[in-house]
Amino acid sequence: MDVRYPAEAEEFRAEVRAFLAEHLPEGWPGMGALDREEAEAFAITWRKTLHEHGFLGIAWPRKYGGGGRTKLEQVVLAEELARARVPFGRATDTTSVKIMGNTLLRWGSEEQKQHFLPRIISGEDIWVQGFSEPDAGSDLANLKLVAHREGDSWVLNGQKIWTSRAQEGNWIFVLARTDPEAPRHRGISFLLVPLDSPGVDVRPIRVLTGQDEFCEVFFTDVRIPAGNVLGGEHNGWMVAMSGLGVERGEEAAINPILFRAEFDRIVELAREHGVADDPVVRDRLAWCYTKVETMRFLGYRILTQYLRDGELGPVASISKLYWSEYHQVAVDLALAIMGADALVREGRHPFRHFRTDEPGAPNSSNSWIDVFLLNARSGTVYAGTSQVQRNIISETILGLPKEPRG
């Protein structure tokens, strides 16, 4: 057992730090300290800078426009970017570069890889995800979007929901039912759909914070070429599950950095409100610190498995349950510290709607309120609810008998 990174990883880390020192202004406070317009502009130019240095799609083969580096180096890069308080790309790059890009690398034909991967790297193609449906949330296999073959095309009819940033994308990857006779998980295909196809209708959903990043996407007789399938016909479930696993490895490395930065902001909040000496507050802060420290080690374990196997099993459920439940408690503490100030909305809203606000963000009430209402609140719902995670842990890790399904 060795909790340190190997030497070559540390060499690369030094290289990344030098790159950051060269490309960030002196005393850079973090993207979180910028206002919304500045941050959006920064994210665009920063993405170009990363691209020029081969840091976008860093572990992809060079021939597809990637950096040709190892998975470990990808993790080191992710850590250093998080520490420097800069993003790895634009918000849509989570679904575009990470999920779609990596799924293509694993399952795409050579032709598909050569066509799509460079366009993802350049930003010309922006992919969003179409998985959930009104009747297919936790039970994703219950999906009803159908695609039937008509000559050289697939024809799609149905609906997806909770697609993040569909307004910003130009392509959507979807799971569709292509063999209605097959058992539920087997008759599904992973299909590639241009969002400007006739019959595609994107409608934003207004959420409780007022923002509308999430969308419904309706498909009415949408035609796509028969070749727009990834990983083979009726193999979509396998393809999707492997794609979802990809994010977890990096996430495991970055979460402790994000949550530690957030914790530091809560401590600062306590100081600002004059309660840093309150024993009850201190007790709760100590609890949070301990949880974040433990999160680091849970994360390292996932990381090790990801680097070794490329796959993540039920260990990912441990981490997800842990950090998402922790986050709600931490944000409750932040609000309790703010007291009546937590009611009145002031200042900058968060830029991110998943997990913490940006490191370096000011302690505005809007930042904490929106993280409370949305980011932290949804953490126990998306990517498998806490209830589902507990089932996975109890059945797969503890080996307890399954509760009867329908």
Partner: protein
């Protein structure tokens, strides 16, 4: 029988009357339409027609002469519908200052929860829309008449909270003891409303769990969901009973009865503090669970649970000090004398403009941003009913 927790016939009648009133006059769309200010003039007028604003004022002032237990039952119904009217604040104000126009509801009144600072009462619940504010200014309890600002401090509960000036036509009503009595009544009624809010939120979650089918069965059939909702039942029942007891204690006037060792606490201030604290937690946990079990739909504005979730947190916050949390009763029953000072109505907050939707701006749609206008997006998503 040492005590009787059941409501008598007239109390049942009050509870039933207001439950039906709010169910008819205040369905969720009325709540939505009132956002972000959180006030419906139409609903207020209907309450006035019912005689609700002065219901607790003495009969010889034109009021209904109702007891605090009756008012608690009204408050429970207010909470169940998250009704966008400052009726709780007004009922308390009318008892303290039963001026005819306040008793009949034509002049709205509210109470400031914190002593005035620099000529301002900070974060007055209902302060955005009331003409009269009753509060502590120095050693005096005063009532100040002034035009309401008509705009609220932007807040996530869409409540008509505002800072109010102590300048205006003033009347001295009493002293700090009178203020503490008012605060006790407000806490009691808000506790009751939070119990009602929690009760309805639990119902929303339960109904959704019965209707939502995943893995071939209603999700309410899974133990994880069942137990999560079941946990909320003692909290809802307990919050209801404790707030009713606090109300009863106010009516009984048994100040200072604090036999903690014998579980014989009848002091209204102590009970109000406990009820407020307990009901706040009950509402917070129940709305959290209910929202969680709605899955992603819990976040959608089209679903009702988020209306309750935000208010469960927002309503008690006006009283919270910027400190570690609870306002715990001490052996004196008076509650811990706060070491914090009142929230400061800072210059920047006083300069704050009208309460717009937090994300709306003149440039309209931005990528990932909110749209202009309050159009609700039509959706094929089935509503749980």
């Amino acid at each position: 029988m040492p005590f009787d927790l059941a409501l008598d016939a007239s109390q049942e009648a009050v509870a039933d009357l207001f439950a039906r009133f709010f169910a008819t006059e205040c369905p969720p769309d009325v709540v939505r339409a009132s956002e972000p200010l959180g006030f419906s003039p139409t609903l207020w007028d209907r309450l006035t027609a019912l005689g609700a604003p002065g219901i607790g004022a003495p009969e010889d002032t034109g009021g209904g002469g109702a007891t605090m237990v009756d008012l608690a039952l009204v408050a429970e119904a207010v909470g169940s519908s998250v009704a966008p009217v400052p009726i709780i604040e007004h009922m308390v104000a009318a008892r303290a200052y039963p001026e005819p126009a306040i008793v009949d509801g034509t002049t709205l009144a509210a109470v400031a929860l914190h002593p005035a600072r620099d000529g301002t009462w900070a974060m007055v619940p209902g302060g955005a829309v009331v003409h009269v504010v009753i509060g502590l200014d120095g050693d005096d309890l005063v009532a100040v008449h002034a035009d309401p600002p008509g705009v609220a401090l932007p807040n996530h509960a869409d409540a008509p909270v505002a800072d109010r000036s102590t300048t205006g036509r003033r009347l001295v009503l009493g002293d700090i003891t009178d203020f503490e009595r008012i605060l006790t009544e407000w806490k009691t009624l808000v506790a009751a409303s939070l119990a009602g809010l929690a009760r309805h939120a639990l119902q929303l979650g339960t109904e959704y769990a019965k209707e939502r089918i995943q893995f071939g069965r209603p999700i309410g059939g899974f133990q994880a969901v069942q137990h999560g909702l079941a946990d909320c039942v003692p909290l809802v029942e307990g919050a209801t009973l404790l707030s009713r007891k606090a109300a009863w204690a106010i009516d009984a006037g048994r100040h200072g009865e604090l036999a903690w060792a014998e579980n014989d606490v009848h002091d209204p201030a102590a009970l109000a503090t406990m009820a407020f604290s307990f009901a706040s937690e009950a509402a917070a946990l129940t709305t959290k669970r209910s929202l969680q079990y709605h899955g992603s739909y819990g976040f959608s504005r089209e679903y009702d649970v988020q209306l309750y979730y935000r208010r469960a947190r927002g309503w008690p916050l006006v009283l919270r000090s910027p400190a570690s949390g609870q306002h715990l009763p001490t052996s004196s029953g008076r509650g811990v004398r706060p070491t914090w000072t009142s929230p400061s109505p800072t210059a920047s907050r006083l300069r704050r403009g009208p309460c717009r939707h937090p994300r709306r701006d003149a440039s309209g749609v931005r990528a990932g941003g909110a749209r202009d206008g309050d159009q609700r997006v039509p959706s094929a998503v089935p509503r749980a009913r």
